[in-house]
């Protein structure tokens, strides 16, 4: 425990120096050690062959790619993703990673190059953010439709106009229907672990994965991260079958013209692959725990069992919400938290199971579908439609464009929720 405390202090120091240096506004530091991080600390004796490092979210993402031995990286710089690509190019220069590194002329070409590389069987990787991801929009569909298991890290940043480089999930939630799996990360540890799991899942169901983290709150903030041994990651990612690729000895086409009947079949098969992925995410998460000591699922329930009121969150706000739940629990409030990790495939059954029978529920979105509300809110609402014992639902739009969401803000949300408020609440 002593070692853990030292690490925590170092982290807080790193944070405060960062705040001083760059004038960044960082959310409550108290909640940095999330539930599974605490669990890790307890389990640290059984975490096999891991080292513990102080990493920013971007460094954790890059290290995840190095551990997965990615073979082709194509990327274009955009704030706040840049240090991912810089760290990777450094890893290649140092000989820690043997990969083809392509500095292309746009995000659009970055994903196009990844598609080409993936189509000949290479493990391809890219990272982007905001305008970059939205520029890729067309190719996100193409990648998924061509069933290429590319993994991309997206640093959630607001989409213009006006210009804004801070955390906002709009860039990734707007890609909801492209056929990519989407994983929202709460901590830097989760960014690293999810990158590894994403390759395993993608290469099995042949759908690409988007690993998402909040700009600056994670991307540029140091946290202690367990770094597994590369040897074990290689073992974890070992493929047992060959996927279809472009091969001169066995010619085939990717993406050829398909008539209405075949197109329908292709699209339906993608949906079925998503459903399969939902089971696989849990299965791979369990296997990951056996090997590395940390468990992951499409949703995580925190203090939910006897809760009357529930916060639903995705991304780094989850850490703050955990603290708020803890404080309210001390006061005797029956409150819990449901963390959603996957926007796609959306864990409908798990969300239903977790929320049915609860009295009230506040879905907090750091994104806004203009004219529709928060995207997680609408997804949760749709999931609960037709169920019995549906809680009173409130959608909370919070933290857009990097606006800080503090503990007292969530306390305010809780008090509003306790008054059985329904509909949309604007926090800020």
């Amino acid at each position: 425990m002593a070692a853990g405390t030292v690490c925590l202090c170092v982290r807080i120091y790193a944070l405060s120096s960062k705040i001083k240096r760059q004038g960044l506004i960082i959310p409550t530091v108290k909640g940095v050690e999330s539930a599974h991080m605490n669990a890790n600390a307890k389990r640290s004796s059984c975490v096999p062959s891991s080292s513990r490092k102080l990493l920013t979210g971007n460094e954790a993402a890059a290290l995840g790619a190095v551990l997965c031995s990615v073979e082709v990286i194509a990327a274009y710089p955009i704030t706040p993703q840049t240090t991912i690509v810089e760290t990777l190019s450094e890893a290649i220069a140092k000989g820690e990673l043997r990969a083809q590194f392509m500095e292309v002329e746009s995000e659009h070409s970055a994903l196009a190059a990844c598609m080409g590389a993936s189509a000949v069987g290479a493990r391809a990787y890219t990272a982007t953010s905001s305008q970059g991801l939205t520029l890729m929009h067309e190719l996100l569909f193409w990648t998924a439709g061509a069933r290429l298991p590319i993994v991309m890290v997206n640093v959630n940043r607001a989409v213009g106009a006006p210009w804004n480089i801070w955390a906002d999930q709009l860039d990734s939630v707007a890609q909801r229907d492209t056929g990519w799996m989407q994983f929202y990360c709460e901590t830097n540890q989760e960014v690293l672990d999810t990158t590894i799991q994403a390759y395993r899942i993608s290469e099995n169901v042949l759908l690409p994965s988007l690993v998402v983290m909040d700009a600056f709150y994670l991307s540029h903030t140091w946290e202690p991260v367990y770094v597994p041994e590369k040897r074990l990651v290689t073992q974890f990612l070992k493929q047992s079958y060959k996927r279809p690729i472009l091969d001169v000895n066995r010619p085939c086409s990717f993406g050829a013209l398909a008539g209405p009947d075949n197109y329908f079949i292709f699209r339906r098969s993608m949906h079925m692959a998503m459903e399969e992925a939902l089971c696989l995410i849990t299965q791979v998460g369990t296997e990951f725990e056996r090997m590395f000591g940390r468990r992951y699922e499409p949703v995580e329930e925190y203090q939910l069992k006897d809760a009357h009121s529930v916060f639903v969150t995705a991304g780094s706000i989850t850490g703050t919400a955990r603290n708020v739940v803890d404080s309210l629990r001390v006061e005797g409030e029956r409150v819990g938290l449901l963390k959603i990790r996957n926007l796609r495939p959306f864990p409908i059954e798990r969300v239903r199971k977790a929320l049915m029978g609860k009295k009230r529920c506040a879905v907090i979105d750091r994104n806004l579908s203009v004219g529709g509300g928060g995207v997680f809110y609408t997804e949760v609402k749709a999931a609960l439609c037709g169920c019995k014992k549906v809680p009173k639902l409130m959608g909370v739009v919070a933290g857009l464009g990097g606006k800080d969401v503090k503990e007292h803000d969530l306390m305010k949300v809780y008090r509003t929720l306790e008054r059985d408020t329904q509909g949309l609440l604007w926090l800020g």
Partner: protein, 294 residues
């Protein structure tokens, strides 16, 4: 009529496109693809952006191509080809050709950024543009490759295109790529020499192929080869090659007036003598510039 060298196509040649593809009768584009692939050989991976060729392959689950093919969006041929090369390098498969076949829309217009990026990085790809001088697959709309005077479905004969055709070869040469050339299926010996040379060079290689289009240009589908010859002989489409910045003409046929080339096509039907004279002047100017640059 001047004499034309006869080229015999050996019967036992390996065709990498089967009959039954969906190109229009007399399509110049499919001939370009057929002959380039015949010379390059079967150890090739190709990528095709949205273009007529997308349709020509045929509908899933049938394919007229006997090669691995990655269909991609209209602006990404060069980037996908570069990615394929990177993937092959990662997999240590270094004896495979990577070829992109794109139309003029996917090259001159929407695909120019990705092509420029790939050329600047000198990606090891062969990029072949089959140039039918308009958006033919979508029904003959103007592109930046459409020549001065041509009518299209968006530039009618009353309001024909008044801008010159973009000089894509000069743009590619400005990237200092190792090899760029123009080819025409009416001159198979020249085409063969250039494709062989392009295949032997490492880095970005660019081939611009004239692809006469019977429905788009308005001529009878049995006259594609003849029209290609007229394009070269009238110097509208000079056959040249450039290794780095050294440019040279590979064919110097006796000059015929452009009117002979133009008069065979409905898309130039509306032109007055004055406009034809202007085209002749431009063609002569361009030829002189190439001649000077040699």
């Amino acid at each position: 009529m001047a004499r034309v060298t006869q080229v015999t196509i050996p019967r036992q040649m390996t065709e990498l496109i089967s009959s039954g593809h969906k190109a229009c009768p007399g399509c110049g584009g499919i001939l370009v693809v057929r002959h380039v692939l015949r010379i390059i050989g079967s150890k090739t991976i190709i990528t095709v952006p949205a273009s007529c060729l997308t349709v020509m392959e045929g509908e899933y689950p049938r394919s007229a191509f006997k090669l691995p093919l990655f269909h991609t969006t209209i602006e990404t041929a060069a980037a996908v080809a570069a990615g394929i090369r990177a993937g092959l390098r990662a997999k240590q498969q270094n004896d495979i050709h990577v070829v992109a076949f794109a139309g003029d829309g996917g090259t001159y217009d929407i695909g120019l950024q990705a092509l420029s990026g790939a050329a600047e990085r000198n990606e090891d790809i062969l990029y072949v543009c089959y140039d039918n001088e308009a958006y033919m697959n979508t029904g003959l709309q103007r592109s930046s490759s459409t020549p001065y005077g041509a009518s299209t479905s968006t530039t009618s004969s009353d309001n024909f295109k008044t801008q010159q055709k973009k000089d894509i070869i000069q743009i590619m040469l400005a990237h200092n790529i190792p090899y760029a050339a123009t080819i025409c299926v009416s001159y198979l010996d020249d085409l063969k020499m250039k494709v062989k040379k392009a295949a032997s060079i490492e880095g970005t290689r660019f081939l611009l192929a004239l692809a006469p289009c019977p429905p788009g240009w308005g001529y009878s589908s049995d006259r594609t080869i003849e029209l290609g010859r007229l394009a070269v002989r009238s110097r509208v489409f000079p056959l040249l090659e450039a290794e780095h910045d050294k440019i040279r003409l590979t064919k110097r046929p006796a000059k015929i007036p452009v009117s002979r080339y133009l008069s065979m096509q409905n898309r130039f039907r509306h032109l007055t003598d004055q406009e034809i004279a202007r085209i002749q002047e431009n063609v002569d100017d361009k030829w002189r510039n190439i001649f000077k640059a040699e």
